[in-house]
């Protein structure tokens, strides 16, 4: 299956291409969402749609980013509008074999794969979606 490969800092991650609508450059300003969890950067106007943008790094419980996030990966979740801030998008690669990730299982993570000898964490779009909802519900 074809996956979009992107980085959070130096770590490589993947999401199925079928789950992604597009990749956009963040605007200069976000509209802040009042009383939202810290992972939520805000909302943006994307051609008339209001898209919620979440710092993926913070959603996955990783430390704060050193370089600023450069791209927004837009998930294609039906009518939902959800964007994930990532450091950079590298491209599209085919990933077939996904092994269970070491450590305790997380709904956002499907597993790990090897791509040209390097490890890639393969994310689960539904899990990511669920994690966003969960962080709001807290």
């Amino acid at each position: 299956m074809r996956h979009v490969i992107f980085r959070l800092d130096k770590e490589r991650y993947a999401l199925p291409l079928s789950a992604i609508r597009e990749v956009v450059v963040p605007p200069g300003q976000f509209t802040r969402v009042p009383r939202s969890p810290p992972s939520v950067r805000g909302v943006i106007n994307l051609r008339g749609r209001v898209v919620t943008v979440v710092e993926l790094r913070s959603l996955l419980g990783l430390p704060e980013p050193s370089p600023a996030s450069q791209k927004i990966v837009l998930l294609d979740r039906g009518r939902r509008d959800l964007g994930l801030l990532v450091t950079e998008v590298d491209g599209i690669e085919s990933i077939e074999k996904v092994a269970p990730a070491p450590g305790k299982p997380a709904a956002s993570v499907r597993g790990v794969a090897r791509l040209k000898g390097l490890a890639v964490t393969v994310l689960d779009p539904d899990g990511v979606d669920g994690a966003v909802a969960a962080c709001f519900a807290r």
Binding site: R32, P34, R80, V132, A133
Partner: protein, 667 residues
């Protein structure tokens, strides 16, 4: 030429679902009224589902629908067969079919329906005394070797056999007679009908004699080897006869030759076929549009409005001499787009019956489970609402109905003791009141106890004793909508109001509606939902808080004043704003929204609004003016944020949240 069925799947799912839901409604209606009016429509629904499922190759569903069809057909000839047990069986079959349709939609295999199918077959065998006929589905037809299905016995009384359909003019002598032998193809699924068509076609040419097999056997499909022979008296000639048969499929002419005239049998009068009963009705000319498409239209029309506002904004930077012509063009564009938007809104209007139609079935199920006898009356369901509101209303309505039956309506014994009729009554009425739609759900049950509700809310620390003392009964009823109270088991049992009222209230308010509750002990409870017709366009007061902009619905704003911080009164630590002769509690908006407050000196604006507990003053940083905007519903996860009721995009392109102040204060 194989037909790719997958492209029909979504249509199959919608239509089959509609038919099955209607079937369920008809069943409940039929059981209630005992009338026969809905039997034909039930038959049609079952029949349609069978046909669709068979065409899609969903054998299990087709078979179930076929059994339902057979049972309904049996009921059609003897309404007394429809007892509670049969209704239960048919309803659960309908449910099974619905879940099979859902499974099909998701590409899942159907759930096992063997047991229910056996029940249906047994029931059918008991009623009709014969075993059910197999159901033919699409895959089966792909093989010409499929076993022929024995046709069912004719349902309508067969018209009398007619061998001499036309009166002959004896004075002109008799036309020539032909002997004819034809064979119906083995592959023909319904040889009886095929042969009947042959007979009919030939009868049109002249008179048929010596038909073998006899017409009755022929129609019943009892045609050994598919062979049919007859004599035909016609002036059409051999070519005419061949021509008449030449365009019938699955028929082969084995021989056709003239015969010597023998004495004709006497003519018999032609029976006039019973015409089917016709209900005069002007069919509405409608097209079906997918709801996503309607949503898309609304989004796009809304975005056009926004884009127009944006052009107006950008135009302000143009030199003054270009302004008038630009303004004129933008005004015209705005007018057109507004008109388009209105039309789209109108197209989205959907009658409430779309959701109330499910209630009778639900009422029956809930009442049976609780061993209650309940009559449900629905009025005014033809009133229309925007479908976005309807979608959000389906669950709350169901919930309120369940609440009325579960907790409102007493057991028959209890009702008898209260000198009430044994059957409880739930009335769902819908009416228009100016620009709102009012939906009331009312039971004649035991009513709510305001004291018990207050005690429960008090016990959970949701209100103080002081507040509890001040609450009127009407206010106390709304306590059941507080999360802790509504989920408390003892309350649901003692005061008779159940779980999830907070969810109902939230859903109603999220579409811009209100929920009121009236109740009288021993007499019943009434839930009143006041809903807007549409959600899409709202008038906002835009305010700046820190660096952010928010919208407040003008409808809820009472006024705005400027005041120096020093002029505020203070009661303990809370600030109070003097306004129209009273002191209003002040809430700094920045605190409510979790936004860093800017240090400031001098007067600041306050917006006075209506909240649950009365009027409040909201301290903001600047008033930016009034604007009519297109409201966008909050998509997940924004809908999880308490205190937001929607979002819009301003002419500048900036997204702005619309605040639900009462909820913001409560959260």
């Amino acid at each position: 030429m194989p037909v790719d069925m997958s492209k029909y799947l979504s249509l199959f799912v919608t239509e089959a679902t509609e038919h099955l839901e209607s079937l369920g409604r008809d069943l409940v209606e039929l059981e209630k009224t005992g009338g026969t009016a809905s039997i034909d429509s039930m038959f049609r629904h079952a029949h349609s589902v069978k046909g669709m499922a068979a065409s899609m190759g969903f054998e299990v569903a087709a078979t179930l629908a076929h059994r339902v069809e057979d049972l309904v057909d049996a009921v059609r000839s003897d309404a007394s067969l429809l007892d509670r047990e049969l209704v239960d069986l048919l309803l659960s079959t309908t449910d099974t079919l619905l879940s099979q349709v859902r499974a099909a939609a998701e590409g899942q295999p159907p759930e096992d329906s063997g047991p229910i199918e056996r029940q249906l077959s047994e029931r059918l065998a008991r009623i009709t005394g014969r075993s059910p006929s197999p159901t033919k589905v699409a895959q089966a037809t792909a093989r010409p070797s499929a076993p022929p299905v024995p046709p069912a016995a004719p349902k309508a009384p067969a018209p009398a056999e007619k061998e001499n359909p036309q009166e002959r003019d004896a004075g002109l002598g008799l036309p020539p007679r032909f002997g004819l032998k034809v064979r119906i193809a083995q592959s023909c699924a319904v040889p009886g009908v095929r042969a009947f068509l042959v007979h009919k076609r030939l009868s049109g040419l002249g008179n048929v004699f010596d038909l073998k097999p006899a017409l009755e056997d022929l129609k019943a499909g009892r045609i050994p080897d598919g062979l049919v022979s007859l004599e035909l008296e016609t002036s059409a000639g051999e070519a005419g006869v061949r021509g008449a048969l030449g365009n019938i499929s699955e028929v082969e002419v084995l021989s056709l030759k003239p015969v010597v005239f023998t004495a004709p049998s006497p003519p018999a009068p032609m029976p006039s076929p019973e015409s089917a009963k016709v209900v005069g009705h002007e069919a509405a000319r409608t097209v079906r549009v997918r709801t996503e498409l309607l949503d898309y239209f609304l989004d796009t029309a809304g975005e056009l409005l926004l884009a127009t506002a944006r052009i107006r904004e950008v135009g302000k930077a143009l030199p003054a001499r270009s302004q008038p012509s630009l303004d004129e063009a933008v005004d015209r564009l705005h007018g057109l787009v507004k008109d388009l938007h209105d039309k789209v809104m109108k197209a989205r209007m959907t009658p409430l019956s779309v959701i109330t139609d499910r209630l009778p079935r639900a009422a029956r199920d809930i009442a049976r489970r609780r061993e209650r006898d309940v009559d449900l009356v629905v009025t005014g369901a033809d009133i229309e609402l925007d479908r976005a509101i309807l979608d959000d209303l389906a669950d709350p309505l169901l919930h309120l109905l369940r609440n009325c039956i579960d907790h409102g309506i007493e057991s028959p014994e209890e009702r008898a003791a209260q000198k009430k009729g044994a059957r409880g009554r739930v009335l769902v009425s819908v009416r228009r009141a100016r620009d709102r739609v009012v939906v009331e759900i009312e039971d004649d049950g035991r009513g709510m106890d305001p004291e018990k509700l207050k005690a429960a809310a008090l016990a959970r620390g949701l209100i103080t004793a002081e507040v509890a003392g001040r609450l009127s009964d009407a206010e106390a009823y709304t306590l059941c909508c507080l999360p802790g109270v509504s989920t408390a088991r003892d309350v649901s049992e003692i005061s008779g109001r159940g779980v999830g009222m907070d969810a109902v209230k939230r859903a109603v308010e999220s579409v811009g509606g209100t929920l009121e509750i009236e109740s009288e002990r021993g007499r019943g409870t009434r839930f009143i939902l006041k809903l807007p017709l549409t959600v899409a366009v709202v008038n906002l007061l835009l305010v700046a808080v820190g660096e952010e902009i928010f919208g407040l619905p003008i409808a809820k704003v009472i006024g705005a004043v400027e005041a120096e911080a020093g002029t505020l009164s203070r009661s303990r630590e809370a600030a109070l704003l003097p306004y129209a002769g009273s002191l209003l509690p002040v809430h700094p908006m920045a605190d409510l929204l979790g936004i860093p407050d800017l240090p400031r000196v001098g007067p600041r604006p306050f917006v006075v609004m209506e909240a649950e507990s009365g009027r409040v003053a909201l301290a903001v940083d600047r008033l930016l003016g009034q604007e009519e905007v297109v409201l966008k519903a909050l998509s997940r996860p924004l809908d999880l944020v308490p205190g937001l009721s929607g979002v819009t995009i301003l002419g500048t392109g900036r997204p702005v949240f619309i605040l639900d102040v009462p909820r913001l204060l409560a959260a």
